[in-house]
Symmetry: C2
Subunit: 408 residues, 2 copies
């Protein structure tokens, strides 16, 4: 008796802030037979991936490689390796994922200082720099694009201030990498974490990171060689060792270096996927890709406004790849989402915490960010809202979006 | 200019202790388009996977789900969640991966006690139980199958003793799950960690775990709801919180429960792969799968002995799926391995630490564990050894292996 059927997932139009649709070339890459982890063909794929990640992160850093886990694994690896217990850590918070950084820093044993902005807005860099002067942190950790509220935090100037005050700057660019500029070197970011399942449009499962020599110095000061691999001359760092083995960047970089010191077994098929996703990004070109995200945002917003939907949050700091829509009064937001999924095969997202039930979040990320998807979500949303008894000017949304596309 | 070529990995015969070859059905599963993480179709796939994992682990435990990372992510998640800082932890060590457990326990802040056996042998359960009486540990953590030496540790009786002494027993079954019996309930194991890239023959990238109510009680006593998701009535546990967010089993189980409390974004394509790999295991049947691993081990060993190779380690505790061969005097082990890979497309493994350069390790795991592969590695090894000038009786190895297969 066959109790579990053949896998046959429905085809979805995924317009959430991730995970989003995956290019068929990336799906195909995962279907190739695997290589052993120390096979020279495989270590060559590892090196090629590092090369492409450097371009993605706009950096000359030696270290740019994926952490093997979902996006928050890259965040935790970076934080637990760069934050020693007792370190003073400043975390500016303007949405859910700032709270996540707070929580992770706390679990790292940090002395955490936070400043908060109301959800829907962001900080002026000077506000953060002023707080740094008070707190004198060893580490500043912040979110670049906050998908919970759809806001984009400007980073210019903060990295420079961190160097002056001898602090390390960690930036969570999970939602922004590959969608808007993330200028690791130009903005003097010491460590940056990206995500795969958003603007890169690779399935969830890896978290590409990069960090510079300032960050590496701290990693090396805490370094240990793994028990079972140690030799008498294995050098040990002087500071408190990293509290995690899996997330110890000192060990990860030995594995990703020509040393190839055995640590975990690299995720073969996910690396194939990441490599193919990065090829797609670089073939399109970063600038073209950023422009594409802006174009489809513009069409989506034009359509939503023609439908008389109210956008949530301060428009001056809106993320191009996430559009937050206030759920109209009297409309059951979850009923609309269910109807979109069940009848139209379209997925949009709700939000978290104080915004739960208040807004929908529509993503235009990576491979999902394309004309037919934008038109499809606008058409579906209009029909679902009308069906739920919501009053709106019918037929205008798609025309407004088409107008935007015609102007290109 | 295309700087990075199309992916086209060579086809390999992978006879290592992992990662091993992947069934084409599993590779195909990864090529399906992704679903959103809260899509009911996807949460159904999560639930089906939990159901199949319970069968794999031979358990009635509620909790059986994958941790999103490579095998050691499951080990670290289990240890960091079940070991509170200051806990007394006993770790019996008989190879490299016992040292890894020691290292992880130390990083968890445990007071670690170890006993060691020379590599190549294992403990009698009574020796471990006697040490427990002295140490009075809160947690005992040990490896079931030690791939570094190819030894299998008997576990019977240790779980019972842990209950009497109120200790939790954590077992690393990364290399054994799906290859030999792992009787979670019958052996009273409190937490068990499996691996995907070995006897399950799913690519590296997930680590299935299971744990019982005794383990869950400790997890819940340390529970926190994530900052940014907390409500005023979120219950917090009394004991010291888990030092990791990513690996906090209290959070992971909320995500895998009907609550679906958002944590990480589940690895869609890897979960498709795991689900298909588990279907293959259950279609074959666990007993038949264990018997298959024994048969091919027997054929491999017969061939190696006919070739006058010396097997490493105590034969009474040999793992069926890893066969360690002493590198004959005067033979350059790495030259043989390179020749096998470059000329024959066959990969076998070297080993770690004190065994580096001393032995080869030949895996017969999961999908790689089949007749044509065993014959291929024997034929290739014989030819490579002859080519390196090693004296051995030519032509006998394959005949000996074929004799074993004919007797079935």
């Amino acid at each position: 008796m066959k109790r579990f059927e053949d896998l046959s997932p429905s085809l979805r139009c995924i317009m959430t802030p991730g995970p989003v649709e995956v290019d068929p070339r990336v799906l195909r890459a995962m279907s190739f037979p695997v290589l052993g982890q120390f096979d020279p063909e495989f270590t060559n794929i590892m090196n090629e991936t590092m090369g492409m990640l450097r371009e993605l992160f706009a950096t000359g850093n030696q270290w740019a490689y994926p952490v093997d886990g979902t996006s928050r694994s890259g965040i935790e690896a970076t934080m637990v390796s760069l934050i020693a217990p007792g370190d003073r850590v400043l975390i500016p918070i303007y949405g859910r994922f700032g709270h996540l950084l707070h929580e992770i820093a706390e679990r790292c044993g940090a002395e955490v200082y936070t400043i908060e902005k109301p959800w829907g807005s962001v900080f002026a860099p000077e506000e953060i720099i002023a707080e740094m002067r008070k707190v004198k942190p060893q580490v500043v950790a912040m979110v670049h694009g906050e998908t919970s509220t759809g806001r984009l935090q400007p980073l210019e100037g903060i990295g420079e201030a961190c160097r002056e005050m001898d602090a390390l700057l960690i930036v969570d660019a999970v939602a922004t990498i590959g969608g808007v500029p993330v200028e690791t070197d130009a903005w003097k970011l010491d460590a940056v974490i990206g995500g795969t399942q958003k603007c890169l449009s690779v399935p969830s499962g890896m978290s590409p990171i990069t960090y510079n020599e300032r960050a590496e110095a701290k990693v090396l000061s805490r370094k240990q060689v793994e028990r079972g691999l140690r030799t008498d001359d294995s050098k040990l760092g002087g500071m408190s060792p990293v509290r995690s083995n899996y997330f110890d960047l000192g060990m990860l970089q030995d594995y990703w270096s020509p040393l190839r010191l055995n640590h975990h077994t690299e995720m073969t098929s996910m690396l194939y996927a990441l490599r193919e996703g990065l090829r797609l990004v670089l073939e399109e070109g970063l600038e073209a890709r950023f422009a594409r995200h802006l174009l489809h945002e513009q069409a989506l917003v034009a359509g939503l406004e023609a439908m008389e939907m109210k956008l949530y949050g301060n428009p001056d700091c809106k993320m191009p790849m996430v559009t937050c829509v206030t759920i109209p009064e009297g409309v059951d937001g979850e009923a609309v989402r269910s109807m979109l999924l069940d009848d139209f095969g379209i997925e949009i997202a709700s939000s978290f915490g104080p915004l739960k039930g208040q807004i929908w979040r529509i993503g235009t990320m990576g491979f999902s960010c394309r004309k037919n998807n934008v038109l499809r979500v606008l058409g579906g949303l209009e029909a679902a809202l009308l069906r739920q008894g919501c009053k709106l000017p019918a037929g205008l949304a798609l025309q407004a979006a088409l107008d935007v596309y015609e102007q290109v």
